[in-house]
């Protein structure tokens, strides 16, 4: 028996080793530009989702017409992310699909994170190695410009520069399409990047109403949360669930305008001073009143412990001082245009009387390591129960100024999408917090009790070029490559047209800040070849592309 165990262990070990060896390794580091020499194979990496696999299947034949071969590898999202953002070891092309977190609605997010040279370091999202002092200048100027009109001007200039330099292509922005039971809930609220069912900007769970006797709502979702501690939430999805309890000061409305939420109002005093006034009569879920001292405490706490998930707060907020019964004054380190949506929109209040004690617990490396098993918030929902990998339940807080219409929310963790669809059809769930494919929607629409809610998104399906690797160091090549993408065909084939086409500025045309005069790059392979030819590229007898001599 001993032998059998050992053999099995060895087999398992062998399988693992093979699996790790088969993970993407790129030759591109050795690829060189030889004048007149052939443009070698182009390597690409993308997540292993069906949509991404199909995307490359459609893209590659058109690029082949330029005389270049693109070889795509697919891996789990985490592996792709580790190689690109983590290691900054991206191949020629990296395709990604982003989620519609609320802070990404402000143009600052994608512009800064993807293209500012400050994000070139490991861990940053500028893994395509775009490094333009001119862009940095414009980008830094727009994020510090507190006058919205002037800011939009600067954003338009930055967009123009991205089109000229073309560090990547934002191909399309896929709509979020969520099915729900029409016989169980009414009044779902579509929000950009959120569909009608996600928890990012969850107006559905605040405003929709139950139909019938059962006044709760059951939502199916694919992934569980990791923590109940609001200081520890690295993942955007996890954080959005905690915001049901730890409500942000400001929330974007269904029309995306920042609206008062835990704050009653805010006033911009000057470019680095903002006064925020809390609502009257707010109460923590344990009955204690919410005081402006708690708000100040939370920001001091974040500054003191430097929680990784709140790096943005520490980058911009210098101090929070109490200036009235319910009013706190935020002093910024420098003007920050997205302050209201991206800082007040994420800022929450931690009860001082609880976290003060947590801080004293020396067995914890950081208060972020405290499990917070019974979270005490103050927002529209209270903590109910969390059965890991099974479901979590939040109950309506009747004391909130706008109490939810549902008595409880159950978020069921159902990893298999077909099971989620089956549960919705069987009436075991009421709404799906997962975006469906066109064929799944067709299947569901046969059921008269099922409705479909959708909203466009601001989060792109995009491909970033690695500008450090030839031939992508050449802007002509980058542009020719971009117009060899048939965006309309892709969107029609992949998502049945349910998407916004992208114009390669990485800002969706759905965003009010995006330059309305921009057009979608026209698909034109002949033009692409002409551009390459003009730049000196040649083709050999086999039709392979060669660098200019």
């Amino acid at each position: 028996m001993y032998e059998l165990t050992r053999r099995q262990a060895l087999l398992a070990g062998g399988a693992f080793t093979l699996a790790s060896l088969s993970l993407p390794k790129f030759l591109s580091a050795q690829a060189e530009r030889v004048p007149g020499g052939p443009v070698g194979d182009i390597e690409a990496i993308a997540p292993d989702w069906p949509e991404m696999i199909e995307l490359f299947r459609l893209l590659i034949p058109n690029w082949e017409k330029l005389g270049v071969t693109v070889k795509a590898q697919h891996a789990t999202l985490n592996t792709v992310f580790a190689l690109t953002a983590g290691e900054h070891n991206a191949p020629h092309l990296t395709a990604e699909g982003w989620g519609g977190a609320p802070d990404r609605i402000d143009p600052d997010f994608f512009m800064t994170e993807f293209f500012n040279s400050r994000r070139l370091e490991k861990g940053g999202l500028n893994y395509g190695n775009y490094n333009s002092p001119e862009f940095d200048k414009l980008n830094n100027a727009q994020r510090q410009e507190m006058d919205p009109k002037k800011r939009v001007e600067l954003i338009h200039q930055a967009q123009q520069l991205l089109l000229e330099d073309r560090p990547g292509v934002s191909i399309y922005y896929r709509d979020y399409v969520n099915p729900y039971r029409k016989d169980r809930i009414k009044g779902v609220v579509p929000v950009l990047g959120n569909g009608v069912g996600l928890a990012y900007i969850p107006w559905t769970y605040y405003m929709a109403e139950p139909i019938g006797e059962r006044d709760f709502v059951r939502v199916t979702t694919q992934y569980d949360i990791a923590t109940l501690n609001p200081f520890a939430t690295g993942e955007v999805v996890n954080a959005s669930f905690l915001r049901f309890m730890y409500a942000p000061l400001v929330m974007r409305g269904p029309d995306l305008e920042p609206t008062p939420w835990t704050a009653e109002s805010w006033e911009v005093i000057d470019s680095t001073t903002v006064d925020v006034t809390l609502r009257e009569g707010l109460k923590f879920h344990d009955g204690e009143p919410v005081k402006v001292e708690d708000l100040k405490f939370t920001f001091d706490f974040i500054a003191k412990h430097q929680f990784a998930s709140y790096a943005r707060f520490n980058e911009h907020v210098a101090s929070v001082e109490i200036v009235g019964d319910r009013t706190a004054r935020f002093k910024l380190k420098q003007p920050y245009a997205p302050f209201v949506p991206n800082i007040l929109g994420y800022a929450f209040i931690a009860p001082k009387h609880i976290w003060e004690e947590v801080e004293k617990d020396t067995s914890l490396g950081s208060p972020a390591d405290w499990p917070n098993d019974n979270p005490v918030g103050y927002g529209p929902y209270r903590y109910g129960i969390w059965k890991k990998e099974e479901y979590f339940q939040f109950d309506a807080n009747p004391e909130w100024f706008m109490p939810p219409n549902f008595s409880s929310m159950y978020w069921l963790i159902v990893p298999n999408i077909d099971s989620q669809i089956g549960m919705l059809e069987a009436g075991d769930s009421d709404i799906m917090a997962w975006s469906l494919t066109p064929s799944q929607i067709k299947q569901l629409q046969a059921n008269p009790n099922i409705g479909v809610g959708s909203a466009p998104s601001h989060a792109p399906r995009e491909i970033r070029y690695n500008l450090a690797l030839p031939p992508f160091d050449d802007v002509v090549f980058r542009k020719a490559f971009a117009i060899s993408i048939d965006r309309e065909q892709l969107v029609n084939t992949l998502v049945d047209g349910a998407a916004t086409l992208g114009d390669d500025t990485f800002l969706s045309t759905e965003l009010p800040e995006s330059d309305p005069s921009l057009t979608i790059p026209e698909f034109d392979i002949d033009k692409a070849r002409a551009m390459l030819e003009e730049a000196g590229y040649t083709w050999d007898d086999d039709g392979r592309l060669h660098y200019p001599a």
Binding site: R6, T76, A311, D369, I413, V414, P415, D418, S419
Partner: protein, 325 residues
């Protein structure tokens, strides 16, 4: 070598095996590319100084050999460490999914082994009969089918089409019993358990059954069986005697089956939304949550190794012919 000597030697082997498994796991998880920190923090702005602080808190700033020694030391002192992803002690993370997995897997394995021995001995005894050839085929079908496919087909048939069973999970949300049997304690759990249990039994059944059958065929040709027949014993009694002797390989195999049961069945768990160990293990590898992944895999391997050790010793009592003298 004396029996006592054997047990001691065998115990030593067990410890060495465990140590090897522990080391191999450590190395393998570190071969997987991806900085756990970057994956944990996800997409967004990162402060380099804070990254370094967490890296140090997680011990990832140490040289690899130090990390390894620390890991071995912690394991030996029973400290499974802190989960990177859940930010709580690994033992806390493990026990809930482990319990859920055992609720599903222990009955499945027990039924599969019991049924396997029962059917296998009868099939082996009737070797060459029409019944045997049909049954052999019937048993091989669920074994040959991919687990997730079988599970989905059962789900479509029994849950979607017939509506007899729930689609997944371990309990009905906001369950209000309507009838007296629904009020029985544990009803809701059993109701959710039934279908995944059925699929698990179908998947597990073939191995013990086929091992039992083969073993039975071998034993049937032994002299003591012929002797039993010659004594004029009833055929049923003869089979029972043969069966007891044929069970040894199944017992050995059971030790492995039970061990792997601790690891759950990730495909079943995904299809039936069962919150067990399989999903935890896959997720922890995805998240590069080394401490959880190591502990979970080690638990599985450890149970296999320990049960093997126990079975080896049990042999002395189960089969008096075995002697380590």
């Amino acid at each position: 070598m004396s029996t006592r000597g054997f047990v001691i030697r065998r115990f030593f082997h067990t410890v060495v095996t465990m140590f090897l498994v522990l080391s191999m796991m450590w190395a393998l998880f570190r071969l997987v590319p991806g900085d756990p920190l970057v994956i944990f923090l996800g997409q967004g702005e990162l402060a380099p100084a804070e990254l370094e602080r967490i890296r140090a808190a997680w011990g990832l700033d140490q040289p690899a050999w130090m990390q390894y020694l620390q890991y071995i030391y912690n394991f030996m002192t029973g400290d499974l460490g802190q989960s990177f992803y859940f930010r709580r002690p690994v033992s806390e993370v493990l026990w809930e999914p482990l319990l859920n997995t055992l609720i599903l897997m222990l009955p499945a394995v027990t039924i599969a082994i019991g049924l396997g021995v029962f059917l296998g001995s009868r099939l082996g005894w009737r070797r060459g009969s029409r019944l045997e050839s049909i049954s052999n085929l019937a048993i091989l079908v669920p074994r040959a089918l991919p687990v997730f496919w079988l599970a989905i087909i059962m789900l479509v048939l029994f849950s979607y089409e017939l509506g007899w069973f729930p689609i997944g999970g371990m309990e009905t949300i906001a369950f209000i019993p309507q009838t007296w049997w629904e009020r029985l304690p544990g009803f809701d759990l059993l109701y959710h358990l039934a279908l995944p249990l059925l699929v698990a039994v179908l998947v597990f059944l073939s191995d013990p059954l086929l091992i039992m059958r083969t073993s039975m065929i071998e034993v049937a040709q032994d002299d003591f069986v012929t002797y039993a027949r010659a004594r004029g014993l009833h055929e049923k009694t003869v089979r029972r005697i043969a069966q007891r002797n044929a069970m040894m390989p199944v017992i050995t195999y059971s030790a492995i089956m039970v061990g792997f049961a601790f690891g759950g069945q990730v495909l079943l768990e995904v299809v039936f939304s069962w919150p067990g160990m399989g999903r935890l293990m896959v997720n922890s590898v995805h998240h590069r949550d080394y401490p959880v992944a190591q502990a979970a895999f080690f638990l599985m391997a450890g149970v296999v190794i320990v049960l093997n050790f126990i079975v080896d010793i049990l042999y002395l009592y189960l089969d008096p012919r075995v002697s380590y003298e």
